[in-house]
């Protein structure tokens, strides 16, 4: 208690100091255009065809990722042909704002990129806008985007770590672990005991442990990578609804294919209720099969995206007020949320695996009445 009050006193002192700095703070001299917070945030949580390293947003240093298009045959070229392409400004019909897109040059000629989406140019060689959305056709885009790159790197990391942990036990047998294995053993045991064994029938849980371990470590590792603001991380992978959709579909398929007679009986012909009620319950239970993975998908997507938005919004406080002294408020708050996000990163992986285990457990449960 004594320690805590000392700490809070110290913090108050720092806060007062920061308030004084705020008075004498200096503001940014030359501003080019109005800073748009929601546009900046949306840009950062979306996928991209480049991996921005440092420097200003336009003209800084980036890794240009390959673009792969299926459009009358396979076309591959670097995304730098878009980012160093020909910028076009179009007058928007609504609210007098202007829309910006880039025409590709070199091998990317004939295509344009608008908000990281690739479109084909029309006969006049431009994008035709209706409101804010172009009406041009889109080629099939199989590009290695930032998220795809992050997915490959994250999966590779999980593989390296897990194989090295497995190698330790293969070499030394079941002894007290050292190194990486020492760190991961309690977590793996937690997934097996607290997630799999606790929710799935005792005689059947072993079959599902590898799936639950994979899903837990994949989500956890990629959540943590997403929290790193520079190169190995920085992509919003688990905050991408397509990624979480795929993970949820995996859980749905595992649940459906391991469902036993008892499980399907509870869905199509609920035992222990009157016959009219059985008919009434059937559609509800069938919808229930799909809403459970749907909630899994939304939960992971929204949690991670919301975390990224909060951190970015707190950092934007400085730029909205155009005064560096606001960093005294915004950086500690962003730090606090970032630390909270480390907990959330673990918790979301845990929850996804836990709820998957719960659904699988319900599917393999034997009748007991």
């Amino acid at each position: 208690m004594q320690q805590f009050s000392k700490l809070s006193f110290l913090m108050r002192k720092v806060a007062i100091l920061l308030a004084f700095v705020g008075v004498s703070g200096f503001s940014f001299a030359n501003e080019e255009k109005e800073f748009n917070v929601s546009e900046m945030i949306m840009h950062h949580i979306k996928d991209a065809h480049e991996w921005h390293l440092f420097g200003p947003e336009h003209g800084g240093t980036s890794i240009y990722l390959p673009i792969i298009l299926m459009d009358n045959g396979l076309k591959t070229f670097s995304s730098s042909h878009f980012y160093h392409g020909q910028a076009v400004e179009v007058e928007s019909k609504e609210q007098g704002a202007s829309l910006h897109y880039v025409k590709g040059v070199g091998p990317a000629a004939g295509y344009a990129m608008y908000h990281e989406e690739i479109y084909k140019l029309n006969a006049e060689g431009e994008l035709h806008f209706d409101g804010e959305h172009p009406h041009n056709t889109q080629p099939l885009d199989f590009s290695i985007t930032k998220n795809v790159m992050s997915l490959l790197m994250g999966s590779f990391l999980v593989l390296i770590v897990m194989f090295s942990v497995a190698k330790f036990y293969r070499k030394n047998g079941a002894v007290a672990p050292k190194g990486l294995a020492k760190f991961f053993e309690p977590i793996i045991v937690m997934v097996r005991d607290d997630i799999a064994k606790a929710n799935i029938n005792e005689h059947k849980y072993e079959k599902y442990v590898p799936y639950l371990l994979t899903i837990f470590f994949f989500i956890w590792f990629n959540n943590m990578l997403g929290l790193i603001p520079f190169l190995p991380g920085g992509a919003n992978l688990t905050g991408n609804i397509t990624v979480t959709l795929f993970l949820a579909v995996c859980t749905l398929l595992v649940t459906l294919f391991s469902g036993n007679k008892n499980y399907w009986g509870h869905i199509f012909w609920m035992p222990g209720v009157p016959v009219p009620m059985k008919f009434f319950m059937m559609p509800i239970e069938i919808i229930g099969i799909f809403t459970k993975p749907f909630a899994l998908m939304i939960r992971l997507f929204a949690n991670i995206t919301a975390g990224h938005i909060i951190v970015l919004a707190l950092i934007s406080i400085i730029f909205v007020n155009k005064n560096v002294a606001w960093a005294g408020l915004s950086v500690p708050m962003a730090l606090f949320i970032s630390i909270l996000e480390v907990l959330v990163a673990f918790l979301q992986g845990f929850l996804f695996a836990m709820l998957s285990a719960l659904f699988i457990g319900a599917a393999v449960e034997e009748a007991h009445h």
């Binding site: 917070v37 929601s38 945030i41 949306m42 607290d194 606790a198 909630a295 939304i298 939960r299 997507f301 929204a302 949690n303 919301a306 918790l347 845990f350 929850l351 836990m354 709820l355 719960l358």
Partner: protein, 70 residues
């Protein structure tokens, strides 16, 4: 994003989630205080219930986000 009616929706979603998770947390602490040996089981049940509520609240946040974007 700011100053739109979608922000009110997001705020309402947070209100509901706050009430729900607050009740779960309070009850869990009460339960652990009465029976400290069951704290592990209570914690797990608490996290699952909180996650379910949070899921519903995040639906609200996502809808708010879509409303703000359109």
């Amino acid at each position: 994003m700011f100053g739109s009616i979608a922000a009110i929706g997001a705020g309402l979603a947070v209100l509901g989630a706050g009430l729900g998770i607050g009740r779960i947390g309070g009850s869990a602490v009460e339960g652990i205080a009465r029976n400290p040996e069951a704290s592990g089981k209570i914690q797990t049940a608490m996290i699952i219930a909180a996650a379910l509520i949070e899921g519903v609240a995040l639906f609200g946040v996502v809808v708010g986000l879509l409303g703000a974007k359109a």
